[in-house]
Symmetry: C2
Subunit: 342 residues, 2 copies
DNA sequence: GGGGGTCGTGGAAACGTTTTCATGGCGCTA
DNA sequence: TAGCGCCATGAAAACGTTTCCACGACCCCC
């Protein structure tokens, strides 16, 4: 017999047990769908749960199971700009879809600046989550260090720049960029420019490397005036394209390292009176939703997002279940989606 | 004396106590900055904590304190589009800034669809968080019901459409919209159109109501062809403006219920060869970052975001500390920011 | 120099679960 | 019918904290 207290605060498992006329152990078994419960007991417990509106106390449960059934997607980025990147939205969508029919919860943690990074590190180490998927965008990010310092399973979205041994899932950025560039070459374009991502992000670097590799492979060396650095935003794409047109007015193609930037580039090209693809062929990267609807529809490099989010979850769950951190990695093939812009 | 176990898993408070030669109670006091600890004991404990790399187990602590020191921002929206809305990003930024120097953590929960809403409801009711700030965008949203059904403190971002008794913080949407419309009237514009938000969102409705009220107050009744419904996105703004130009080619002003839509409207106007503000004056809403940099810079209605996020936190903390839910509300004044577009 | 007060400390009881282990009842097989 | 094993059940021990309470030691003031 436990405290059959007044109807003040939330009911406990003990009260349910009393009402149902069984022991706490049996209630626990019903709650957790254990098969070793008689139908009668099960029904009685369920009725009591219903009557008391019982909902299990997660903290008490986690204390003994050492599981929170929660994983975090942590986003390490100085400004909130990232939210508007369709790639990020896709990752969130993919992850929650993936977790929908499990009993795992997904929480997002956003870290702007050092203090918040520390705070998130504490949050994670204190055992609030079973694992972390980390989108660490810039290479001077502290969070990989902070998080891999603890015991919590971690999977990175995107290859870590320093080659540290940690599990990650990435697209074949270099390969995709090379394929895009080769496609432009195969169209007979001679002056192929690129709008790269920020050079402190690994996706930016790898795509730029792929572009260079494809040109080198064709016996070309890209002129410096054909490379402009963007920031993965539409506005950045406008700026970069404008600069390219000023520095290299004779360009006849451009590989843009993200679709939002490509949309910006299209605007700048239109403003400059260049026709796409007749005067300038454009290839983007990401196959964001906007790529299909912009004018002209964008030829772009698609990443298999569902596959990638699936792998992230898989790698993370493997670590959680085995109880030990791994450094498994998965690199997913990209594919060129041909539309009208190149 | 507790288990002075091997260096296998994470150390516990008991092991720290043993190493420091004090009781668990004393260690707890040091951890929680209680003043009633002698300097010597404090130093000894701190050294032990350091040596063992001790980090408190949050679940155990929460079990007894009934606090998680975590609040959730839950985002109830069918698609991930919202992420790209600068208003959302501003709220996130404001909240985390506000919580930066407290020991509260902020987590984001995104619910797309009924199943995820249920899941979030469970997550919250199980006691994962101390309180919830709910951005419930559409009026058929289940989450307000789900969440206010439990005992967890809730503050809504935005007035609930059904007038239920729940704490909320909102901008004076109607007032801001009316001010914007009056401004257009004062410029001598006669055919003032509007691009409204979705009519199943309270912000959309209130801003539309404000527009209508200002016209009525001036003795005008807005013609139906001067009202186009948008969806708060840039693409929606383009579509709505295009439709308005088709249905009411003689319009000379437009009040747009959000800045992203206003940016879209500007594009459509330019494409149609209308000059802004000479031919058509444009006023937006939100004072998003983009308003200052678009062409022409946008006259818009600013919401006091810092004040609003501050109030949300304040209202929520009040409830958490008092232990009871309130239905306090705060409505913040907006202000017209004059730039070049009107 | 004794009595009240403060102060630092440790013992032990919570907090609400899960899970191990023992037990008793039952049906089956030999 | 005896014996064996399975199955549903409950008692009790965890899990790692916080916090109440009691207990000395010490200081200060009369």
């Amino acid at each position: 017999m436990t405290t059959t207290g007044a109807r003040t605060s939330t009911p406990t498992l003990g009260e349910v047990a009393d009402l149902a006329g069984v022991s706490r152990a049996t209630v626990s078994r019903v709650i957790n769908d254990s098969p070793r419960v008689s139908p009668e007991a099960r029904v009685a417990v369920q009725a009591a749960v219903e009557a008391l509106r019982y909902v299990p106390n997660r903290m008490a449960r986690s204390l003994v199971t050492r599981r929170t059934d929660t994983i975090a997607l942590v986003l390490s980025e100085a400004d909130t700009q990232v939210f508007s990147d369709p790639f990020f939205a896709s990752i969130v969508r993919g992850l929650s879809a993936r977790l929908a029919d499990t009993d795992l919860n997904l929480v997002l943690l956003a870290a702007r600046g050092e203090r918040e990074q520390e705070k998130i590190g504490r949050y994670v180490r204190q055992g609030h989550v079973d694992g972390v998927i980390l989108m660490s965008l810039h290479n001077d990010d502290l969070l990989p260090d902070i998080l891999t310092g603890g015991h919590v399973p971690v999977v990175l979205s995107g290859r870590p720049l320093d080659g540290r041994p940690v599990a990650y899932v990435d697209a074949d950025n270099a390969g995709g960029a090379a394929a895009a560039t080769r496609h432009l070459l195969s169209l007979g374009r001679r002056r192929i420019a690129t709008i790269s991502g920020p050079t402190d992000m690994v996706a930016g670097l790898d795509r730029l490397a792929g572009y260079r590799a494809a040109l080198a492979e064709a016996g070309r060396t890209p002129a410096p005036e054909l490379v402009a650095e963007g920031d993965f935003t539409e506005a950045g794409g406008v700026r970069a394209m404008t600069r390219l047109l000023a520095d290299a007015p004779d360009l006849d193609a451009v590989f843009v390292a993200s679709d939002p930037m490509a949309v910006g580039a299209l605007q700048a090209l239109r403003a400059a009176g260049r026709r796409v693809p007749e005067d300038v062929a454009v290839v983007g990267f990401d196959d964001a939703a906007v790529a299909a609807v912009c004018d002209p529809p964008l030829t772009t490099v698609a990443q298999p997002l569902d596959e990638m989010t699936g792998l992230m979850v898989e790698l993370l769950l493997d670590q959680i279940e085995s109880g030990e951190r791994t450094a498994e990695t998965r690199v997913c093939a990209t594919s060129l989606v041909r539309r009208a812009s190149a």
